[in-house]
Structure formats: structure tokens, C-alpha cells
């Protein structure tokens, strides 16, 4: 019989351009963690920043190498948020769902470096574990603390703009959205007075899984978008105290953002739009 006091372990995954990473991105993690802990039902064990690959082809997107490096610099003194470059090292653009699945798999598969799994014996080579993440079927694990529910969850961490982008035609596949909210869950940070609740209400899929969409209200108006940072840099304006100082120094040293970098991918169709538009043609 499952102990109702057991907490579900959660890994927060943030996907995005991080072009560059800002204090706002980093805040999302802190807000989400505090929120989930306050419910008493969750224990956040890790935060993962997964910068998108260059193949995403967003306007102004600079090389993944730099974006990953800056994110790593930014999280150097975080004891729970880290950067993962699996997504960015793929040659093709990957759907967010695939990244979620990948990280969920990583959690389930035994891995000596995964602190969750330390007490669990390694599976024999060649033996495949069950692939589907299924919340209702906890995988039995030995030597776990009494307050931990067996299956850790990887939840998508995002701002309200991402959630509302579910509505943009051809940006997301309907079945992907469904699997994201059904099997993984979303933690969405937005400011007071936002339209997210309305958006969820107006979507049958989101409404059905609203218990798995955690809305966190952000009490400071934090508008530090990467776009604005890049704009300030082009204009020779200071970005101090908006991004970690190490990131600012790195940008300055490598002269990363200027009018030319902003023109990258100008006129090019965003990878998901390209993909789904051509899919629908076939």
C-alpha cells in the first residue's frame, strides 16, 4: 500500500533558446521549486536547462556552443540546476516531447552518476526496461527513503508564452501537447493578471489535464527577455544585473551579439513550422 505522505520526485526541464540566458530564466526554476515544495506533495531534485539546437533556425539564434557555455557559467553556483547539451548536439531540431522523454528515460535507466539510483543494482546488459512513462505504475526501487514515491517525474518548466504557444498553428503537434500534459506535466510561471487560466479553460486537452498543469504566480514583474538583452547590447547599453555577471563578461569578451548576429536566419522558416507544414502536405 502506498504511503500517501510520500512525495513525488520532480525534475524541472526548461527548453528554449537561452539566447542568452538571463536572470529571468534562472528565476523560473527558483519559483517553480518553491511552489512545488509548498504543496507538500513534491520534492524537486534537479533542474535542467536544455538549450535548443541551431537547427531550430530562429532569427538571431547564435551558435549552440556559446549558448550552452553561457548557461553553464550562469548555473555554476547553483547546487541543483544544471545544463544539458543533448538536445543542442542533435543535428536536427527535436520536438520538446522527445527531450522530455529522453530525460525521463535517463532517470529511469540505471546510471552510476544518477544520485537517485545509487542504491539500485545495474540492469544486466541487453535487458530493456519498459519504455512508457506511466505514472500509475510505480517502478519498485530498493533502498529508497521512506518519503519518496517511486517514479520521478520530468515536468516542463516554462513561462506563459510557451504554454500559450500551444495555440499557434503548426508549432506543436496535438498529440505531443497531449502527451506532455498527460504523462509529464507542466509548471508554468506567469505574472498576476495573466491570460493563462483562460487559455487552459478554452482548450479541451489542457482542461482535461489541468491538474497536471501547475500555474505559479510570479510576484515581481520580471521582463528580462533575451530579445531585450540582445537589443540593449546592439545599442551599447548596459545589461548588468539582468544577467549573471559571468555571462555578461563572456558576451563582452566574445562580442557575441550585434546587428549581424540578429540577422541570422532572417527569412528562414522556423524548424517546427517547416516540419509540420510539410507533414500536412504529405
Amino acid at each position: 500500500m502506498e504511503d500517501p505522505d510520500r512525495k513525488t520526485e520532480v525534475v524541472l526541464l526548461a527548453c528554449g533558446s537561452f539566447n542568452p540566458i538571463t536572470n529571468m530564466h534562472l528565476r523560473l526554476f527558483e519559483l517553480a521549486k518553491d511552489y512545488l515544495h509548498e504543496t507538500g506533495k513534491y520534492k524537486v531534485i534537479k533542474g535542467i536547462i536544455s538549450p535548443v539546437g541551431d537547427a531550430y533556425q530562429k532569427k538571431g539564434l547564435i551558435s549552440a556552443n556559446h549558448r550552452v557555455t553561457m548557461a553553464k557559467l550562469a548555473t555554476k553556483n547553483s547546487d541543483w540546476v544544471e545544463v544539458d547539451d543533448w538536445e543542442s548536439s542533435q543535428s536536427e531540431w527535436l520536438e520538446t516531447l522527445k527531450v522530455l522523454r529522453y530525460h525521463h528515460q535517463k532517470l529511469l535507466s540505471p546510471d552510476p552518476t544518477n544520485s537517485l539510483q545509487n542504491a539500485i543494482p545495474l540492469t544486466k546488459p541487453g535487458r530493456k526496461r519498459k519504455q512508457e512513462p506511466n505514472r500509475h505504475d510505480p517502478v519498485k526501487k530498493k533502498n529508497q527513503g521512506p518519503d519518496i514515491k517511486s517514479v520521478p517525474q520530468v515536468k516542463l518548466l516554462c513561462g506563459s508564452d510557451i504554454l500559450e504557444s500551444f495555440g499557434i498553428p503548426n508549432l506543436w503537434k496535438l498529440e505531443d501537447i497531449t502527451e506532455i500534459v498527460e504523462n509529464h506535466g507542466v509548471v508554468c510561471i506567469s505574472r498576476a493578471g495573466n491570460s493563462v487560466q483562460k487559455f487552459i479553460y478554452e482548450s479541451d486537452i489542457l482542461w482535461r489535464h489541468k491538474n497536471n498543469i501547475h500555474l505559479v504566480e510570479e510576484w515581481i514583474t520580471n521582463d528580462i527577455s533575451s530579445t531585450k538583452i540582445r537589443r540593449a547590447l546592439r545599442r551599447g547599453q548596459s545589461i548588468r544585473y539582468l544577467v549573471p555577471d559571468v555571462v555578461r563578461a563572456y558576451i563582452e569578451k566574445n562580442n557575441l551579439y550585434g546587428p549581424e548576429s540578429e540577422d541570422r536566419n532572417a527569412g528562414v522558416v522556423l524548424a517546427p513550422l517547416q516540419k509540420y507544414a510539410s507533414d500536412s502536405k504529405n
Binding site: R27, S78, W219, K228
Partner: protein, 272 residues
């Protein structure tokens, strides 16, 4: 050399800094960028002046801590510093007096540097010396603030009219406001401010990041994270000294602010 004709400028920010936040430091950066873009000024220094404990604001922790935190936060800045003079006075000091003090300090410093330069042989003088200490250019000192500050001029008994006049006439204001708010309106509503509007610089902050120190203290009391809102060094300091607690928040509860206690006139200075 356009640099030669620019007026050297010092920015002074007065406030509780209870605690210092990233937003406080942002104000300086925004102000400096704006003033440089006018082509008229060269911002040479930023001074953060935490208010005296005697101010009597609710939740105000000891100046010793507020100064220490500001020092930690400003460690990475090469032009902004925290100055303890105001907090070291025996009583609360009016803002205009703080401005006067820092202005005379800067003049004194300038004078001694000029004397030093005069004693140097021309060959010893660096280009920097020549640019910085032009005989004809006196520095200006301006008060850096947020738009809400302008509004406080209207609060009865908070300011003396002659002080407001001296601040805007003799010194000047650099007022940072967020996109969507309209400080020009407050200026328009006051004859005094309108008269000296040429000396009130309005800076718009397009990247909204309204980190209120009150909310920071609230979060700290509740054990919530304030990482990335205030520098890590300040977070550690607060934790180490256990500065913000429910108890600290009750300090001065029910007390009148010192300026309100002092000014027994009921005349509203801005009822023009």
C-alpha cells in the same frame, strides 16, 4: 575630442536599501547610459547612500548590515560605491544635506587633484588627467531615483518646499520609471517641478524588473528563494547573520517616519 566638453556627473541614490537588490543597481546603469546618450555628460561616479537608522521606517535593519550588503553587491562595479556618511550621522539627515555633502566632497577632491596636477611637470600628466580635470568644467551631482520618489514630494510634511527647490534647481534629478508609468504627469502637476523640468531627466526602463525590497524581505521570512534577484553574496550574508526575520520586520512598527515627526508644518509644499 567630444569627451573634453562633457560635464562630469555624479549620481547619488538615497534610500533604505533594505536590502540592496539587482534593481537598485540597475537604476544606476540605466541612468548612466541615458546621460551618456545625451552627449552632455560623463558619469564619473555612482554613490549609494543608505538612510540612517533614525529614519524609523518599519522593518529597517541596522545600517551596519545594510552598508555591508551594499558593499558586497557593488564589489563587481567599477564606478558605483556605497557611502556610509548619511548612516553615520547622529540623526536622520534630509536628502538635500546628503547631496550638499557629497557635492562639496567631490569639489574638495577635485581641488586637491588639480593641485596635484599643477605640481606635476606637463610630461608627467596623463591624458586621463587632462581630460578629467579641465579647469573650466565643474562636476554636477544629481539625485537618482524612481518615479515613485517624485510622487513623495506631494506627501504632506515629508519634504520642506525649499529643499525640493534646491534639489531640482541646484542639483537635478535623474528619475527612472518603468514603461507604462508617466512621471511627466507629476512634473506637469507641479509648478515648481515644471519650472525646473530641464533639470529633471526622465529615463524609461523598458526591461521591467521591479524587485521590491519589501517583497524580498517577505520571501526571506517565508524561506522562499530570492536567488537571481539580489546578488548571491548578499543572500549568503543575510543567511549568515540571520538578518531578516519576523522580528526584524516588526521594528519601528507604529512609529512615524522621522521627517514626519520633524516637520510640524501642515502646508503641502506642492499645492501650487
Amino acid at each position: 575630442h567630444r569627451m573634453k566638453s562633457r560635464i562630469p556627473l555624479i549620481l547619488v541614490a538615497c534610500g533604505s536599501f533594505n536590502p540592496i537588490t539587482n534593481m537598485h543597481m540597475r537604476l544606476f546603469e540605466l541612468a548612466r547610459d541615458h546621460l551618456h546618450q545625451t552627449g552632455q555628460y560623463q558619469v564619473i561616479e555612482g554613490i549609494m547612500s543608505p538612510v540612517n537608522d533614525d529614519y524609523g521606517k518599519k522593518g529597517l535593519v541596522s545600517a551596519r548590515h545594510r552598508i555591508a550588503m551594499a558593499k558586497l553587491a557593488l564589489k563587481t562595479s567599477d564606478w558605483i560605491r556605497v557611502d556610509p556618511w548619511e548612516s553615520e550621522q547622529k540623526t536622520w539627515t534630509e536628502t538635500v544635506k546628503v547631496l550638499r555633502h557629497h557635492y562639496s566632497e567631490s569639489l574638495g577632491l577635485l581641488q586637491s587633484k588639480r593641485e596635484l596636477m599643477q605640481n606635476k611637470q606637463p610630461i608627467e600628466r596623463s591624458t586621463e588627467d587632462s581630460l578629467s580635470y579641465q579647469h573650466s568644467v565643474l562636476p554636477e551631482l544629481k539625485l537618482l531615483c524612481g518615479a515613485d520618489f517624485l510622487q513623495t514630494f506631494k506627501t504632506p510634511n515629508l519634504w520642506k518646499e525649499e529643499h525640493i527647490k534646491e534639489i531640482v534647481e541646484k542639483f537635478g534629478l535623474v528619475c527612472v520609471s518603468r514603461a507604462g508609468s508617466d512621471p511627466a504627469q507629476y512634473i506637469n502637476e507641479s509648478d515648481l517641478l515644471t519650472k525646473f523640468q530641464h533639470n529633471i531627466f526622465l529615463v524609461k526602463e523598458w526591461i521591467r524588473n521591479e524587485i521590491s525590497a519589501t517583497q524580498i524581505r517577505y520571501a526571506l521570512c517565508k524561506g522562499l528563494s530570492v536567488k537571481y534577484l539580489i546578488p548571491d553574496s548578499v543572500i549568503s550574508y543575510i543567511a549568515h547573520h540571520n538578518i531578516y526575520t519576523e522580528e526584524s520586520e516588526q521594528k519601528n512598527e507604529g512609529d512615524l517616519l522621522q521627517p514626519l515627526k520633524l516637520h510640524n508644518t501642515t502646508v503641502n509644499p506642492l499645492n501650487d
